[in-house]
């Protein structure tokens, strides 16, 4: 049984928008504690791929199976998929700008999501400690009481990563985390992602080859909605098809 080593299995997935095949017979697998970079030129289907896994877009065909029990994510709502353990970070930092860092993290913290539980929820000592710990982890310890909208771009990115970790997802989908970051911020972000991938699956969609090199992980190259190559970064960059797509036009 190979499913023991597979957390997410996407197979034969296709989706088209107005006749344009954004994803074409895509297959993808990732293990329960693995870091993976997904690269590809613009329009390769990277974001659509994430949309499908998180339930925002329904594919025309194919299967998306998750977890030991191989539950299909296709019939589930975005909220249900998130509850099942899929976290997503958007390209633009999307935190709740009017609320404090503390409130942002508390909202993301793993806890029942049913409305009456949320309504009667009052934070206990362990919740407060967990928020503190997460803030430490993403370097926002001194910013807990600040309004998220006042944070710098990099801090917002980390806050969002912190919120993702707070959800305790089993699979983390991260869209271009290093965009717009200073070199030091990038380094911190790399550490966070590598650390996170020790206990869960992390998929990083990235344009920046230098950043991908630093992640030092298996790479999947997407092109025109399907997988063009897969393997180590040096292996895929040596692939003539990949060179064609990236350089040869």
């Amino acid at each position: 049984m190979s499913q023991m080593n597979t957390l997410l299995e996407v197979s034969g997935v296709s989706v088209s928008f107005d006749g344009f095949k954004a994803i074409n017979n895509l297959s993808f697998q990732i293990g329960p504690a693995e870091l993976r970079a997904v690269i590809g030129p613009n329009g390769a289907g990277k974001t659509t791929f994430m949309d499908i896994v998180t339930g925002k877009t329904r594919p025309d065909e194919g299967r998306v199976l998750f977890g030991e029990k191989s539950v299909s994510l296709l019939a589930m709502s975005e909220a249900k998929i998130a509850q099942a353990g899929v976290g997503r970070k958007f390209q633009k930092p999307t935190v709740f700008e009017e609320q404090s860092v503390h409130e942002n993290l508390m909202m993301a913290l793993k806890a029942p999501r049913v409305w009456w539980s949320v309504l009667t929820f009052r934070p206990e000592a362990p919740d407060m400690a967990r928020v503190q710990e997460l803030a430490d982890q993403v370097g926002l310890r001194d910013q807990l009481d600040r309004i998220a909208g006042e944070l710098s771009h990099g801090q917002k990115q980390w806050l969002e990563i912190g919120m993702l970790l707070a959800q305790e997802p089993r699979l983390l989908l991260v869209d271009e985390p290093a965009a717009g970051m200073t070199p030091e911020e990038r380094e911190h972000t790399t550490d966070l992602l590598v650390e996170a991938a020790k206990t869960r699956a992390v998929v990083v969609v990235e344009h920046d080859m230098e950043f991908v090199r630093r992640l030092n992980c298996k790479v999947t190259v997407l092109h025109e909605g399907s997988v063009l190559a897969e393997g180590g970064l040096d292996h895929v960059t040596a692939n003539p098809d990949v060179i064609d797509v990236y350089l040869g036009r």
Partner: protein, 388 residues
């Protein structure tokens, strides 16, 4: 552990103290139990204003905090009024009919009494039979329950259909306008069972109560103040914790909340229903003070006014909604009640009854453009002043 939610929000305590002081002052000045400086009709105006403040809180919860611009909350307000109005009218007519029939030689049968009530209430729309919806009208307890149940169920069904289909933004606003318009048009019909455009009247007379209106008006004033205080407290509690975080999150970035695993539609639906029920309670206290309810009360414009009050008072803060509703509705009463003197310009006479609408419209536009925080924003300025 953090402080209790009142400890975190001192504005709650301040508001409740102000409300208590206001209630006490009015009680001392009124005819009913005080020195009689304030007339009974003015007490009724104040009591009604408190009810409008309560429905404004509901509007602020759904619009200011959750970002759903409902332009139909006055439908729930009106339905609450109709539900209590049915009992008031039935019970009072029952007493009148029984007294009238008691004049005869033979004691009346139960059926004669009911027929008498029926023809008294529905004669005006050319009928004497009780429609099915009046089946509980003889029971105060059941009608009080219906004050919550009928608007609650309507909000639940309407909201479920709308939110499930992910109708949002201006489309949802239009849909809520359509809902309140449809309800008003339906109630205008004579066979709607609620006396068509005549509405329900004589609601200021409590059945079996012989106390004068100067006293009854105080009872309703106190009840309205109590309801406003309780509504404020409940609303403040709802928005204080994680639930408040989530609904403000829905306002600012719905998709993100969804990817955090919160079922956004259910949260919207619950808040929509809760606010509909708060609006209904406000309506059930308002109309006995107004004395009459008819379908014109839930015309689409009423719900739009509600949004204007909240916008002028300051969205996203409960006391802002209260201030807006109180200020704008009182000023509006003054202008449209004929108390404001007309201005004769020689070639044209400015009649405030008409021109008030223009002023209101312009101030709404100005507030939206230049002071999005409304009157409540002034408190932020004061706070900043005192800090520096």
């Amino acid at each position: 552990m953090r402080k209790s939610f009142i400890g975190q929000n001192p504005s709650i305590l301040i508001f409740l103290l102000c409300l208590a002081a206001f209630t006490l002052a009015v009680s001392l000045l009124a005819e009913g139990f005080g020195i009689g400086v304030l007339s009974t009709s003015f007490i009724k105006t104040l009591g009604k204003t408190l009810c409008l403040c309560l429905v404004a809180i509901a509007m602020d919860l759904i619009w200011g905090y959750c970002g759903i611009l409902s332009l139909g909350h006055f439908a729930f307000f009106g339905l609450g009024g109709y539900m209590i109005g049915m009992w008031l009218m039935y019970a009072r007519t029952e007493i009148i009919v029984q007294n009238a029939l008691a004049q005869g030689d033979i004691p009346p049968t139960a059926q004669e009494v009911i027929d008498g009530i029926g023809s008294q209430i529905f004669g005006v729309v050319g009928s004497s039979d009780f429609p099915v919806i009046w089946v509980f009208a003889d029971s105060l307890v059941l009608q009080l329950l219906l004050v919550l149940v009928v608007p609650g169920v309507l909000a639940l069904v309407f909201g479920w259909l709308a939110f499930r289909s992910r109708v949002a933004g201006v489309y949802l606003s239009i849909l809520t306008q359509a809902m309140t318009l449809a309800l008003a048009l339906y109630l205008f019909q004579n066979d709607s069972g609620l006396r068509g455009n005549n509405g329900l009247s004589g609601l200021q007379n409590l059945p079996g109560v012989t106390a004068p209106q100067s006293v009854v008006s105080m009872w309703f004033f106190w009840a309205s103040a109590l309801a406003l205080g309780a509504g404020y407290l409940v609303s403040a509690w709802v928005i204080s914790g994680k639930f408040g975080s989530v609904i403000r999150g829905i306002r600012d970035n719905e998709a993100r909340v969804r990817f955090l695993g919160y079922p956004v539609e259910t949260f919207k639906l619950m808040l929509f229903t809760l606010t509909a029920m708060i609006a209904a309670i406000a309506g059930a206290l308002y109309y006995p003070q107004a004395g009459i309810i008819n379908p014109a009360e839930i015309a689409p414009i009423a719900s739009i006014y509600l949004a204007v009050w909240v916008a002028i008072g300051g969205r996203g803060r409960l006391y802002g909604a209260v201030l807006g509703a109180a200020f704008v509705s009182l000023v509006s009463t003054w202008f449209t009640g004929g108390q404001a003197p007309d201005i004769n310009l020689g070639f044209y006479t400015v009649q405030w009854v008409d021109w008030w609408q223009v002023i209101l419209g312009i101030s709404f536009v100005l507030v939206t453009l230049f002071a999005p925080k409304g009157i409540g924003g002034l408190f932020d300025l004061l706070k900043r002043e005192s800090r520096s």
